[in-house]
């Protein structure tokens, strides 16, 4: 682990206590690296330029242009419980890449400033970290910087690379799956992403292979005035298994930054994919200035029989979050899971949840959502559970809890349950409450200060979800929760 690391991937650092008492956004540094930024604005020429810079084949350019033309016909969605200021899409630069852009062969070739950024983020980019059991793809602004541990994975037939490389090296795979789960017609932000996406990660796990390590991507928006539009595509062939981690940070800036990503996942027969996110984009300051707009479309298709997709997310950052990681359960006996902790404070707004679409017989889904609202924030769970008329024996259990930490925040629950088959058993439960004064008093009486007591109680409240995260992530996420809530009580 680097000396410079501050992000804290381990819980028991001596640094932890000091970090935990500040409560400031500690990922808020920006990195001075030379960046290749194309001028702000969006038109067909910009899209052609992005495609050309990336040396893309014609079919991909066509895909982008089609998406762009469709996007022009759309208006941003307004159904969410969010107050989104108008966004000037012509004021954003749609491409920013650190220079030099020569693909680095080893770590020595990576810009030291970039390395330093990732070290400060606590990303175990170096080989020794990879040996510790994690393969990392790091995306800064829009471009994948470096993927570790690729050779070892390649021996097993696992492909883990940047999206751009995948387009070059595995065009058939990319073409076969791109846009198959989230089509560009899906929604406004998905259309925008499909038109301008610059990079992202690509994962392919071949038939029968269990990926031996966690695959991980860290996303970071660095350049000012840019948007980040990455795209992740994960394909788990029959009987494959993979656990994928995603972490997000951004520097503190006064203006808002736009993040509109797409994640597509395909699970074939008996394949299992775990997708974990710790989202800590810059959330803006206490008055709501700045922060990232996080408008993300994530969806998995459990196409194979008895396939399984599990989403786990810990959402603490972003000024506005619009995000519904979903499962289309098409295969017989497929399983979908969604575990979420969403924390909002100050003037943050989050509208997040999931869709579980039961198309196959005997498909099962579980939704556990824990919302924590503080300050003047608005925190909504929005969900859909749909059982198709032809899908028999389906089960869903949904639990949505909201915890309120202040008297000006909002906590909302908007589930929709559509049952088209009588053999379905679908249950939804939700509660809203505030931290009980008795709990706090009990902790106080045992000598635990209120701030710490709140941290304890909130972590206890979120435990069910935190337990679903891989170990390394869970510790980080737990600390993140405590830090996020510093000074939020009252």
């Amino acid at each position: 682990m680097s000396d410079k690391e501050t992000a804290g991937t381990r819980a028991n650092d001596g640094q932890t206590l000091a970090d935990a008492t500040t409560g400031d956004y500690k990922y808020g540094f920006s990195t001075d690296v030379d960046t290749d930024v194309i001028p702000a604005g969006l038109n067909e020429d910009v899209i052609r330029l992005i495609s050309k810079k990336k040396g893309e084949p014609q079919w991909l350019l066509d895909f982008r242009l089609e998406a762009y033309r469709y996007w022009l016909t759309l208006k941003p969605p307004t159904w969410a419980h969010l107050d989104i200021p108008p966004i000037d899409y012509q004021a954003i630069s749609y491409y920013a890449a650190p220079l030099p852009r020569k693909a680095p062969g080893s770590l020595d070739e990576v810009d030291p400033e970039v390395l330093d950024t990732f070290n400060r983020l606590g990303i175990p980019l170096q080989e020794q970290k990879a040996l510790a059991g994690m393969a990392v793809d790091a995306v800064m602004d829009s471009v994948s910087v470096r993927t570790t541990h690729r050779e070892k994975l390649a021996e097993m037939g696992i492909i883990f690379c940047s999206f751009s490389e995948a387009v070059k090296d595995y065009p058939d795979l990319v073409r076969k799956y791109l846009g198959k789960v989230v089509g560009y017609r899906d929604n406004f932000y998905a259309a925008l992403n499909s038109a301008v996406f610059s990079d992202g990660s690509f994962v392919y796990i071949p038939r029968g292979v269990r990926c031996p390590m966690e695959l991980s991507t860290y996303f970071r928006i660095n350049s000012a005035g840019t948007g980040q539009f990455e795209r992740t595509l994960i394909v788990a062939d029959a009987d494959a298994y993979v656990s994928y981690l995603e972490g997000c940070t951004a520097p503190m800036r006064d203006e808002n930054q736009l993040h509109a990503a797409i994640v597509e996942i395909i699970a074939e027969d008996r394949a299992e994919v775990k997708y974990s996110t710790v989202q800590n984009w810059y959330a803006g300051d206490a008055e709501g200035r700045g922060g990232v707009y996080n408008f993300v479309t994530k969806r998995g298709l459990c196409r194979g029989d008895y396939s399984k997709l599990s989403w786990t997310q810990v959402e603490t950052g972003s000024a506005i979050t619009w995000k519904y990681p979903s499962c289309v359960l098409a295969g017989e006996g497929a399983v979908g899971e969604f575990y979420s902790v969403a924390v909002t404070r100050n003037r943050q707004q989050a509208d997040t949840g999931t869709k579980m679409i039961h198309l196959g017989n005997n498909t099962r889904s579980t939704i556990v959502s824990k919302g924590i609202s503080a300050g003047s924030s608005q925190n909504s769970y929005r969900g859909l559970v749909r059982v198709a008329p032809s899908a028999s024996g389906c089960r869903n259990y949904t639990q949505c809890d909201s915890l309120l930490l202040s008297d000006h925040c909002g906590a909302h629950t908007f589930p929709e349950i559509k049952i088209g088959n009588p053999t379905a058993v679908v249950e939804h439960e939700a509660t809203t409450s505030k931290i009980s004064e008795q709990q706090i008093f009990y902790c106080n009486q045992r000598g635990i200060p209120t701030e710490e007591a709140v941290g304890l109680i909130v972590n206890g409240y979120a435990r069910e979800v935190m337990n679903k995260l891989p170990m390394e992530f869970a510790v980080e996420a737990q600390k993140l929760l405590a830090v996020t809530l510093e000074g939020s009580v009252g």
């Binding site: 008297d407 925040c409 909302h412 349950i417 049952i419 939804h428 439960e429 939700a430 505030k434």
Partner: protein, 452 residues
């Protein structure tokens, strides 16, 4: 919503006739209603889970309107052939859209209790009507605007301060017309401070094969410390469409109970807007739907906690047979400052047949931290273990299904606070499900649901 145009035209063409018979206060509302309806006509209909319940479609057929106030003969006995005897009520009848007080009603009403036509109330007691009428529905929806535009008369129930009425006021609304008909119905309930009253609202339709549409708006005002209970029972035929809105405001320490049962009908769409305005108020909302054939029943609730320390409970249950469709939309809103709120909402649904569909959206919108709020929704089939257990004891499958469905509904029936009404509802549920009580001499059990 193009389908609204025909009503706008109808109003323009017959304005004088429509307004001739109506109270001034009702006529005064029409310009605003017209503006609102014209605006709705230009907008798309609000999205609904099923095509059948889209407002645009519900209002599309060419219904007739009884603007000339013709009197229709109604065979009351026919509508009540399955009624449980021994329920003594203060009876009033609305035939299509016309209020017809029972012969003995006036005589039997205790002092301080008034049941009369809106027109008469507006003339004799404008202070009962003016501050209240349309103040809650306010032309805010296509249904409310349509109702205010075409309304000719309605029913007023007024309970004076401190008067506590034990015997229920029963208002039976009956459709009877040889041709397709739209009835614009309105009920205004004002319970003054400390008053208590029970209302039993029954919807029926006579004759079959004639399309009826009921467009009903009810406004209820429960003053401080008042207790108002409203029980609705819908037993209409398959050609009847009901679109209703119930608005209620509950003041300090008042208590409101709303219980709606859909036992038969074609399409029934019911919106409830209940606001706990005062402190320490309470609202209990419950409803049951037993749907069969291609029936479609929707209950949509918006329950707003505005005052402090208010309590609300909601329980809605659906049992859907055949190709029936059920919709439940329930939203609890807790305003900023509504401290000490205690709100619960429950929706439980049984899908008995392959073709049945359910759409449930229980929602919470909370802007205050000192709350205890919960909601639950569950949809499933009858418990297979219970069915086997009952069959092992020799109870035939159909009967076991009926008993379990009836048991499933029992807590909604139990939510009826007035025993004679509760017993009657229990009987009607059992009859609808085809149990023992269905074999009463006067009616056939051919449309009972469990014996198929």
């Amino acid at each position: 919503m193009h389908s609204l145009r025909q009503y706008i035209e109808l109003y323009r063409d017959n304005r004088d006739t429509i307004e001739a018979a109506a109270a001034v206060i009702i006529n005064r509302r029409r310009p605003e209603a017209l503006r609102a309806l014209e605006a709705f006509a230009e907008q798309p209909a609000p999205r609904t889970p099923y095509r059948e319940t889209s407002a645009d479609l519900l209002y599309a057929p060419d219904y007739g309107l009884n603007i000339g106030r013709l009197q229709f003969a109604v065979d009351l006995a026919a509508s009540f052939r399955c009624d449980v005897p021994n329920i003594s009520t203060l009876l009033a009848v609305v035939v299509n859209d016309t209020y017809r007080p029972g012969a003995l009603l006036e005589k039997n009403l205790p002092a301080g209790v008034s049941v009369m036509s809106l027109a008469r109330a507006a003339a004799e007691h404008p202070e009962w009507v003016e501050p209240y009428l349309d103040s809650l529905s306010a032309c805010a929806t296509p249904t409310a605007a349509l109702n205010s535009l075409l309304l000719q008369d309605g029913v007023m129930v007024h309970i004076s301060r401190g008067v506590r009425l034990d015997k229920p006021i029963q208002i039976v609304s009956i459709f009877n017309s040889p041709t397709a008909m739209l009835a614009v119905r309105r009920l205004l309930v004002v319970a003054d401070e400390g008053a208590a009253a029970r209302l039993l609202l029954c919807d029926h339709s006579q004759g079959s094969g004639v399309p009826y549409l009921s467009c009903a708006v009810t406004e209820i005002f429960a003053g401080a410390g008042a207790e108002v209970e409203v029980y609705g029972i819908e037993e209409a035929n398959a050609d009847t469409v009901r679109v209703s809105e119930t608005h209620a405001r509950v003041a300090d320490g008042a208590r409101l109970l709303l219980n709606g049962s859909f036992l038969s009908g074609g399409i029934s769409v019911n919106d409830y807007d209940v606001r706990l305005d005062g402190d320490d108020a309470r609202a209990d909302l419950s409803g049951l739907v037993i749907g069969g054939g291609s029936q479609c029943a929707a209950n949509r609730v918006v329950l707003r906690h505005h005052g402090r320390r208010c309590v609300s409970r909601q329980l809605f249950k659906y049992a859907l047979f055949d190709d029936a469709r059920g919709e439940f939309g329930g939203k609890i809103v807790v305003d900023e400052g509504a401290t000490g709120t205690d709100a619960e909402q429950n929706n439980r649904n049984l899908l008995v047949s392959d073709g049945a569909r359910m759409d449930s959206a229980p929602q919470l919108e909370i802007y205050c931290d000192d709350v205890r709020c919960g909601h639950g929704s569950a949809t499933g089939e009858l418990d297979a273990n219970a069915l086997f257990y009952m069959r092992q004891r020799g109870i035939p499958l159909d009967e076991a299904r009926m008993m379990l469905t009836q048991a499933f509904m029992s807590d909604v029936v139990d939510a009826v606070g007035y025993e004679p009404v509760r017993d009657r509802l229990r009987h009607l549920v059992e009859k609808r499900l085809g149990g023992e009580a269905a074999s009463c001499a006067n009616c056939s059990a051919e449309d009972s649901l469990c014996n198929r």
